[in-house]
């Protein structure tokens, strides 16, 4: 029976090969575990990293002559066409992030004070919204906010306004659509961070004579501020790349960086300029992401 063991089966030759001295560790073996990563690395390297590098390279090439140039970036920086779009994108990103923080924080805070069942319902709504296709949600706003949409009909029927309020096809419409898409990205991490705050702190603060108001501003808010900051940055990052919402709700008047890239690729073939702008967007995103990671660590 005992001969059936694995060691008994080892062939001497193989066994000898394996008993070479410890230098074997350095004899060109791949670092441990690297093979597992290799297939994905190849694919991502080919279909993600290489294209990004090529984009970076094309941004430094003149479209007509094919020579090295910084002209594409100069064009972005100097033109009164491209830079304003970059600024508008940043501005809308900030507005949207502020708005998300402003309406997201109270909701998340309210949710922490709800019963378990209330929390489940609220979370279900948020998660549902989160997973419903952005196209569907953006599309719905046309129906809701249009001149003959439910909101305007309500406003006019209630006599609050006589002519329909122009929600759509301007920056307001784009912002509303973006806030709706991005709010769950604010709510979910913020709510999670608020749940981390030890509920006993509240009781302790009360025993020390703090009011609800004082507890909130002196304890709770400072404790959740890093999370608020981190999600704020996250929303800004995501806002920078928005394409669908401005395309559908902007009425052609609110192009953001992504829409400009679409024009430069799909309407005018200006790849090198597009590459340069896409690189600007990349730098903005990565820069914000570094801040985000830093805030997360603080949290």
């Amino acid at each position: 029976m005992s001969n059936q063991t694995q060691t008994g089966k080892v062939v001497p030759g193989r066994y000898l090969a394996r008993t070479k001295p410890a230098t074997r560790r350095f004899s060109g073996r791949l670092p441990s575990g690297f093979v597992w990563v290799l297939p994905l690395l190849l694919l991502v390297g080919l279909v993600f990293n290489l294209p990004l590098l090529m984009t970076a390279a094309s941004s430094l090439v003149d479209q007509k002559t094919g020579a090295f140039t910084l002209g594409n970036f100069e064009q972005v920086a100097a033109s009164k066409v491209y830079l304003p779009v970059v600024w508008r994108t940043i501005r809308i990103a900030l507005v949207v992030s502020f708005a998300c923080a402003l309406i997201g924080y109270p909701l998340a805070y309210w949710m922490t004070r709800l019963s378990r069942r209330g929390q489940t319902v609220a979370l279900a709504i948020i998660v549902t919204s989160f997973w419903v296709s952005i196209l569907v949600r953006t599309y719905a706003w046309i129906v809701i906010l249009g001149n003959s949409g439910i909101v305007n009909r309500f406003l006019m029927a209630s006599g609050l306004t006589e002519t329909p309020v122009e929600f759509l096809y301007n920056e307001l419409g784009v912002a509303i659509g973006m806030i709706n898409v991005l709010l769950p990205f604010m709510l979910l991490p913020l709510f999670a961070a608020m749940l981390q705050v030890d509920p006993r702190l509240r009781q302790i603060a009360f025993t020390m004579g703090a009011s609800s108001f004082q507890f909130f501003w002196r304890v709770f808010f400072p404790l959740t501020l890093p999370a608020l900051g981190a999600t704020f940055i996250l929303i800004s990052i995501l806002s920078l790349g928005f394409y669908i919402t401005p395309a559908i709700l902007g009425g052609g008047k609110v192009p953001l960086i992504a829409n400009m890239l679409d024009i430069l690729i799909n309407q005018f073939p200006r790849w090198n300029l597009a590459a340069a702008i896409s690189l600007v967007l990349l730098v903005l995103t990565v820069g914000l992401f570094v801040v985000y990671q830093h805030l997360r660590r603080v949290e």
Binding site: L40, P51, W131, L135, A140, V143, I144
Partner: protein, 278 residues
């Protein structure tokens, strides 16, 4: 005493009223698009009136009798299933290497694999457009699937690294000392335990691929997918058929995500089982 308590409770409730109002309004704001789209899909009217004047299934019929929508649905399914399956395979292997490997630069690799999730899709779209165009595979079906793999794989890598990290490495080591080859360990020990997580990761990847618009718009060439056709239609002509598709999509996404969440609920069940003694 009791009356005091009741009064105190009532005061407390009044104090919270402004907060509750804001909370409910914001939740309504989130839910509104869905609340509007779903009933409209059953509308009998041509226009996008809300509430619908009458009920019918005509827009569902319109969807299922339109060969272009069906072609788009078929493509979405093919691209979604193949890209999420590839993403699951490669992503799981990579997650294993990242968690259990000892080579240098694992953190950087993980960031690299996850970054397509963080970067604006339009950057990836532009980069892939230029790259695919240069090598002449713009509009190629396999190239489209490859793009979707890159977009879906971060979710797999995230979920699977989490799952593998929470799986006791000693169980793997014991399996090896008990005579299992690395392959036997993977197939007989690791995978059976990670199966729910893998299924969840697959579903997430599938939903991501199925919903993808921007990159698809740039690189898909002649191939239609549901979101691509939806986007084109939204820009072209607003047609209630879209509400029917939207409703189908909502149900579909929610079912998939609910299933995924349910499958992933036991992310800690392994550690719970062997962690009792700790």
């Amino acid at each position: 005493m009791n009356a005091h308590l009741v009064a105190a409770r009532r005061r407390e409730r009044w104090r919270r009223l402004p907060l509750a109002t804001v909370g409910i309004l914001v939740l309504l704001f989130l839910a509104l698009p869905i609340l509007v789209v779903v009933p409209m899909s059953f509308s009998s009217a041509e226009s996008l009136r809300f509430p619908p004047p009458g009920l019918s299934l005509r827009w569902y019929e319109a969807f299922f009798s339109d060969p272009l929508w069906l072609e788009a649905a078929l493509n979405s399914l093919i691209v979604g299933i193949s890209s999420s399956t590839i993403a699951l395979g490669l992503g799981t292997l990579a997650a294993y290497g990242i968690v259990r490997g000892t080579f240098w630069g694992r953190g950087a690799l993980e960031t690299n694999f996850i970054s397509p999730m963080i970067l604006p899709p339009v950057i990836i779209a532009v980069a892939l457009y230029i790259f695919y165009a240069r090598i002449g595979i713009l509009g190629n079906y396999l190239a489209l699937i490859a793009a979707h793999v890159v977009i879906a794989v971060p979710y797999v890598v995230l979920l699977m690294t989490l799952a593998i990290r929470s799986f006791d490495i000693r169980v793997e080591q014991v399996a090896l000392t008990l005579g299992a080859s690395r392959w036997q360990m993977m197939t007989r020990v690791l995978m059976p335990n990670l199966l729910p997580n893998a299924a969840a990761a697959w579903l997430f990847a599938f939903v991501i691929s199925f919903d993808e618009v921007v990159v698809t718009l740039f690189v898909s060439g002649t191939h239609l997918t549901i979101p691509k056709r939806m986007f084109n239609q939204l820009v072209l002509q607003i047609n209630p058929t879209i509400t029917a598709i939207a409703t189908i999509l909502i149900c579909f996404s929610l079912a998939a995500v609910a299933l995924a969440a349910w499958l992933n609920r036991g992310n800690g069940f392994v550690s719970k089982a062997d962690g009792e003694g700790h």
